[in-house]
């Protein structure tokens, strides 16, 4: 991933939630512009 890219985090309820993806990527210095958790029920 190139540095400076803005992140769209699309998590899944039965996988890794969007909030966790966002937290990890923000911790890595990326800007998260949208995060959501989809569920396939």
């Amino acid at each position: 991933m190139h540095k400076g890219t803005k992140i769209i985090a699309i998590g899944e309820r039965d996988g890794v939630p969007g909030a966790v993806i966002a937290e990890c990527l923000e911790g890595a210095g990326y800007e998260v512009v949208f995060q959501v958790t989809e569920c396939f029920v």
């Binding site: 985090a9 996988g15 966790v20 990890c24 890595a28 990326y30 512009v33 396939f40």
Partner: protein
């Protein structure tokens, strides 16, 4: 991918430029990953959502791929992703997503 999220991604691509965006997925299974990847690179394969016919060509990764994991600070990786990495089989998703990225 549901239509609401497709609409948000389309708006963000208009706002920031698709070349400045990266999609990071958290799917638990490979089933569905290909559709997600196609939706944000080539357009909605169902031709029903806001991204139908819109080829944004946004690079797409899974959070557990090495390319992403290597970026995450070790403490967060251990605390937030380690358990998922034990139960989610990332290799089939990595292959699908690498193929999608190679087409961009």
């Amino acid at each position: 991918m549901n239509f609401e999220n497709q609409g948000v991604i389309k708006r963000l691509a208009d706002q920031y430029g698709p070349e400045n965006l990266t999609v990071v997925l958290g799917n638990g299974e490979a089933n569905g990953v290909e559709v997600f990847a196609e939706t944000v690179t080539e357009g909605d394969p169902s031709y029903a959502g806001p991204l139908a016919g819109v080829a944004l060509k946004i690079p797409v990764y899974h959070v557990l791929e090495q390319e992403v994991m290597n970026e995450v600070p070790e403490n967060l990786r251990d605390e937030k992703l380690q358990l998922s990495s034990l139960v989610i089989d990332i290799e089939p998703m990595h292959q699908l997503l690498q193929t999608a990225r190679d087409k961009i």
